[in-house]
């Protein structure tokens, strides 16, 4: 057998409107740990989904060679049959089942009408031992911690006779010691001949375990670095991840006067709504001024959305503590209604799930957050409503057949404009825009940037949460960097660079 276990050649995968992968190549040597790194949306997870058959053969172009033979996986079972097992970022375990039941879910021991529980638990115990987990396989998943759950996932992968293990951000929800244990386990497997592919944002971990590092950016392979041949320091990797030219994709704001502080958050702490002991936002203090565009940068899961939503009328989280000042006055916003009354707006990152009613027309979506604005004592003036919708359609240049068209039939960019229109009509002074350009094309992005500039020029405060560093750098007057629930950096918009922001994030992750 050759020493190359996997070769992915010229992989291209398109989604409607976006090229997620563009001629990507990946070569993985047998018995090594191969790291895939890149910013959010660089295509790492997509590439792994292609490999595991979640995106079936035919939905992408290019070849996959595994042990030298060409593979055409159409479902996960196909790739698992060959020993390629993927462990997803979100744990896929069922809380009210035992470890053993989870491990063999869909792959039950014994016959279809007579599950062999004895064999199930004996096998499960064997694999638990292999990952060094000292738990009985009859324990319920809900009773063990996240770190151990991740180990169960790995044991489950072993039970499928994995030869190539793919881990998508395995340590993102683990603490330091659990992460270390997991990485050491991977190194032990390596000694035993297992090949692993690990996707991670934590570059210190990558430097620790990886033999080879492939950098993806904007759906393209940038480079592959080899341990002991190339410099694989974190700085070197970061340069590969972010090293793109920033061209003039961002409209300039002309002479916008930045005024007084309009909103200030002090010592804001939020806990997870279900896992109430888990801190999601940790002692954050930020402020924003009138006419200012404030960027909030950070990786996915840094707590940015959670921070925004917990401020916005406590729509997220539990055990929220801290102080909130609007125009210098201390306020307590207990509901979204309160928040809207205090002229605060939150434009969600999830426009389909949390933002728009897709089965309703543009008109009713536009007025939903401010129905009193088009009604009199609870009676809606439909003519006025139509007028308002029409006004914002023209103002934001929303492309549609008319304001009675259902929002579900619009493109992503135009849906985003309707969502913005909805919140602009609520007449806020402070707008929190969460990933305002996610999943929309370049032209629509530019238009959204122009709207943001317009809002700032009107003296409103705009807080823009974004995972796209160029966007944050191109649009913000000032930038906060969040990581793991804390503010880990504050930069002036003119002085910030991608390297500085990434360094701030990574430095705090290493702690």
């Amino acid at each position: 057998m050759s020493d190359i276990i996997l070769e992915m050649k010229n992989i291209t995968k398109e989604f409607p409107g976006v090229k997620a992968l563009d001629d990507v190549n990946l070569v993985v040597k047998r018995g090594t740990i191969h790291a895939l790194v890149g910013e959010n949306g660089a295509g790492k997870s997509t590439l792994m989904k292609v490999l595991s058959g979640i995106y079936p053969y035919g939905s992408y172009t290019g070849d996959i060679l595994y042990n030298g033979e060409e593979c055409r996986f159409t479902k996960i079972k196909d790739s698992e049959g060959k020993g390629i097992v993927i462990i997803h970022q979100e744990l896929a375990l069922i809380p009210y089942m035992t470890i053993g039941e989870n491990m063999f879910l869909g792959n039950e021991r014994g016959k279809a009408f007579a599950i062999d529980w004895g064999d199930t638990y004996a096998q499960a115990d064997k694999y638990l031992k292999a990952v060094g987990l000292n738990e009985s396989s009859t324990t319920l998943i809900k009773d063990i911690g996240v770190g151990k759950q991740q180990m169960v996932e790995i044991a489950k992968a072993l039970s499928k006779h994995a030869k190539l293990l793919i881990l998508d951000e395995p340590t993102s929800s683990l603490n330091e010691s659990d992460s270390k244990a997991l990485l050491d386990l991977l190194l032990k497997f390596k000694e035993e001949g297992m090949t692993s592919i690990i996707i991670s944002h934590k570059l210190n971990e990558v430097s620790y375990v990886a033999d080879d590092i492939t950098v993806l950016r904007d759906g393209k392979t940038i480079e592959t670095l080899h341990k002991s041949v190339d410099d694989i320091s974190e700085d070197r990797i970061i340069r590969g991840m972010v090293g793109r030219e920033i061209s003039d994709r961002f409209p300039k704001r002309k002479d916008v006067k930045i005024g007084d502080v309009s909103m200030e958050v002090k010592d804001w702490t939020v806990y997870h709504p279900i896992y109430r002991e888990k801190k999601v936002v940790d002692n954050v203090s930020i402020h924003v001024r009138r006419g200012e565009v404030l960027g909030i940068s950070g990786l996915m899961g840094a707590g940015r959305t959670e921070l925004a939503m917990s401020i916005f009328g406590r729509s997220y989280g539990s055990g929220i503590s801290g102080e909130l000042y609007i125009n210098g006055e201390k306020v307590v916003l207990n509901s979204v209604k309160d928040a809207i009354k205090h002229k605060l707006a939150y434009v969600t990152e999830d426009r389909k799930g949390n933002g728009l009613i897709l089965s309703n027309p543009i008109m009713t979506n536009t007025t939903l957050a401010n129905l009193p604005g088009v009604s009199n004592r609870g009676i809606i003036d439909t003519d006025k409503e139509y007028g308002v919708a029409e006004e914002y359609r023209a103002k934001l240049n929303t492309k549609c057949t008319g304001v009675v068209q259902n929002v579900g039939n619009l493109s992503g960019g135009n849906q985003q404009k309707v969502l913005l229109a909805k919140w602009m009509f609520a007449d806020p002074d402070i707008l929190i825009l969460d990933e305002p350009t996610r999943g929309i094309d370049v032209g629509a992005k530019y238009e959204i940037y122009c709207i943001i500039n317009q809002l700032a020029a009107e003296g409103k405060s705009v807080i823009m949460i974004s995972s796209e560093l160029p966007e944050v750098l191109g649009m913000s007057d000032r930038i906060y960097v969040l990581n793991e629930g804390s503010v880990v950096g504050e930069f002036d918009g003119a002085e910030a660079t991608q390297e500085k922001i990434m360094a701030a994030i990574l430095k705090s992750s290493n702690k």
Binding site: F312, G313, V336, N354, S359, I380, D383
Partner: protein, 391 residues
């Protein structure tokens, strides 16, 4: 594009097309008996409760395909209470108010668990279905209680003589003149409203539907009203139940299409999370839907005991199915967020036609249930499949 538009148009009016086909089918199978004045009258008089309950059920369904299984039992329980109170000689108006209050109370009880404790509506109302059926038996002691209060019976459209007196043509007229006058007035009001709103939109420069479409709609609706009025006039005139049904429909059509409260129902059903993040109290929306359902069930209870001139522990059985069926047949979505009161009226009429048509044909009562059950399933399948094609 134009083909898609035609398809959309066809889909929009599918239920009306189906209604026409079903009417044609039963007219053929009953040798035209379906369209006799007496049967036309019965479609409304016998099914008044369906219209009332379906209107309330629509609000529940709008919140997310949630249904209320308890309405049949609530109709029976409130009816039983009313009958007993009337028999004791209580003041009629007090009884009316008390019945409505009890209905609202029952609705609020269920609504509380559904809205604030998040008990699934299906379970909550299944419990109510048992509880209030049982209590009906208790109140009536398992017997029939006759309702002999004449004003009550007449007012709520029941008994043998349930028609509005023809004070225009007089009792001797061959055609009930009041019917024709009311029908004529309805057409005038409808046409005036349609064309005035159209003119208003044109004046403000808004989009309007093509004039021929408006005209066709106007002609068809006018023709239907004329037909109805004429048929009713040929029989005994305006059933009092029709007045009540018309009032309920008018109120709820207005609420659902013109008020912010009505808009909230559609928003919650369309996307609850987005609605919550728009500053709307979604719990209150659920509460109103189910509390209101109790109120309308009480009203349907009045119509029922008045029509039957009695209350029995078995009244109201399967009423929930009629109401739910009317909603889904009338185009309400099983996922919530879509459905209109006029649509539900079409659905209720369709249910009524099927009920009466099969009765005239002499179809066995058990088979009638089979047919109605399958019609309900077909309506929901249609909704689910047409949704899937869109996405």
């Amino acid at each position: 594009m134009s083909k898609k538009k035609i398809m959309d148009g066809v889909q929009k009016y599918t239920m009306i097309l189906i209604l026409v086909l079903v009417v044609a089918f039963f007219t053929w199978r009953t040798d035209g008996k379906l369209l006799l004045p007496q049967n036309i009258t019965n479609i409304i008089a016998q099914n008044a409760y369906v219209f009332v309950l379906a209107t309330g059920m629509l609000l529940c369904i709008l919140t997310g395909g949630n249904i209320d299984l308890s309405v049949g039992s609530v109709v029976c329980f409130v009816g039983a209470l009313g009958a007993v109170w009337l028999a004791k000689g209580m003041n009629m108006w007090l009884v009316v108010v008390l019945m409505l209050a009890v209905g609202l109370g029952i609705g609020a009880w269920q609504a509380f668990w559904i809205a604030f404790v998040r008990v699934p509506p299906f379970i909550t109302t299944l419990s109510g279905m048992l509880v209030f059926r049982g209590l009906s038996n208790v109140v009536l002691k398992g017997r029939t209680q006759s309702v002999s209060h004449e004003t009550f019976v007449r007012l709520f459209g029941g008994g043998a003589n349930c028609y509005v007196p023809d004070f225009i043509g007089g009792p001797e007229a061959e055609l009930n003149m009041l019917c024709l006058v009311v029908g004529g007035a309805a057409i005038v009001i409808y046409l005036a409203a349609t064309f005035m709103s159209r003119a208003g939109r044109i004046r403000k420069g808004y989009d309007v539907e093509p004039i021929f479409q408006t005209l066709i709609k106007a002609v068809v609706i006018s023709a239907v009203i004329v037909f109805f009025a004429y048929k009713l006039a040929q029989y005994k005139g305006l059933p009092t139940a029709l007045i009540w049904v018309a009032i309920i429909i008018a109120i709820y059509t207005y609420i659902t299409s013109k008020t912010t409260v009505g808009r909230h129902f559609y928003a919650v059903g369309g996307n609850e999370q987005a609605t919550k993040l728009s500053g709307i109290n979604t719990k209150k929306v659920y509460f109103i839907a189910y509390a209101n359902m109790g109120l309308l069930a009480a009203f349907a209870g009045m119509l029922t005991i008045a029509r039957m001139s009695s209350a029995q522990p078995t009244y109201g059985q399967n009423y929930e199915m009629d109401a739910i069926g009317s909603c889904f047949i009338g185009g309400a979505s099983a996922y919530g967020g879509i459905g209109t009161v006029p649509g539900v009226i079409v659905g209720a009429v369709l249910m009524g036609v099927i009920n009466i048509g099969m009765s005239i044909m002499g179809v066995d009562a058990n088979y009638q249930k089979v047919v109605k059950g399958l019609v309900l399933l077909a309506a929901v399948i249609f909704d689910v499949v047409s949704k899937r094609e869109k996405t």
